[in-house]
Symmetry: C2
Subunit: 203 residues, 2 copies
């Protein structure tokens, strides 16, 4: 395995890993995770696909490495799979803030700043749309076809909450307890995810 194909890059070459990551970032940002194959990334980087798997494991793991996220979003999203859909709003606030209030906070703040200020937000868009909202969409598609609107509205409130609490650090939000925010902001998320919204397609 791991025979470099075109450009003479070798498995042991310290630049190979970052060449693969650069190619992955570009393709994921442009085409999304679903429509990007490990084969295409390998071709773009001039290496054998087996080498990509050797360095990064699965395509999803490669995407998380490309985004440089310090935690796997699955650690937040998978426990929510057992949360009843009518309690998702507060549970999302609690789960997300639980991670952001923890030891990964500096890395997460750096990540959100870097991705928001990038010239093209394609990688961030792919991350939010496919990784974060992809978990939620199948559960909140009521009436059918409403899931995209519902989840993107929820994402707008979550992103704004994270920015005001951790980046802008405006009080009293910066010091508010997770329980208080789960109660207050959870209602907003719950309405977006399962409530009556005036603009949704009617069943």
């Amino acid at each position: 395995m791991s025979v470099p194909r075109r450009s003479g890059r070798r498995p042991g070459d310290p630049d190979t890993r970052s060449t693969i990551l650069d190619a992955a970032r570009e393709l994921f940002a442009r085409n999304g995770v679903d429509k990007t194959s490990v084969r295409a990334i390998a071709a773009d980087a001039g290496v054998d696909p087996a080498l990509v798997h050797h360095y990064f494991g699965t395509k999803n793991a490669l995407f998380l490495a490309a985004v440089q996220i310090p935690i796997d979003p699955a650690t937040i999203l998978e426990p929510l799979a057992s949360t009843p859909v009518e309690e998702l709003g507060p549970a999302l606030v609690r789960g997300i803030l639980g991670v952001w209030d923890g030891e990964s906070q500096p890395a997460l703040i750096a990540l959100i700043k870097a991705n928001l200020s990038a010239p093209d937000a394609g990688l961030l868009r792919t991350f939010v749309a496919e990784i974060v909202l992809g978990h939620l969409r199948p559960r909140v598609d009521e009436p059918a076809g409403s899931a995209a609107s519902r989840t993107v509205l929820a994402a707008s409130q979550i992103v704004g909450l994270l920015i005001m609490r951790y980046v802008v650090r405006l009080e009293p939000l910066a010091s508010a307890s997770r329980d208080d925010l789960a109660a207050t902001v959870g209602v907003t998320l719950q309405r977006y995810l399962t409530g009556d919204l005036p603009t949704l397609p009617q069943p």
Copy 2:
């Protein structure tokens, strides 16, 4: 008027204006607009206060120049003064998106990106807290003491909406009409500004 004081900077010196702006940014970010005097900024920049007024007019105008905002927020906020408080939610969405959908959009996107990625978000915090929320706070302090919580929650939804629509550009939010968003997100803002919130001090 306009006699340079300490460092020999002169009114005609092209660097004087940017020296004043640098001093203004630092003091506004650290102490806010209210607690920063033109005199203090002038002293920090090593110029006469009259020269600051000569270049920038009022302290508020100097702050807007320091933030590099391409429009005066008063053009959005002043018309809202005649909006009944129970209709503020949708009106805010309509007013803010009306400006962001207009010709200032590229400058506003650049501004939000630059301010979010700055090492210290002090200037952005001052801008949101004193300029944007300062207009709203006196109108939504019911029960007394609740205005700070109410307005910062509203700000979290507004900031998230702007980022998802204009920076991340996630659909269907990026192409949604202002009317649809005023209806959907307006309810959230209205609840934050005037609704029953579980965590507010009781009257």
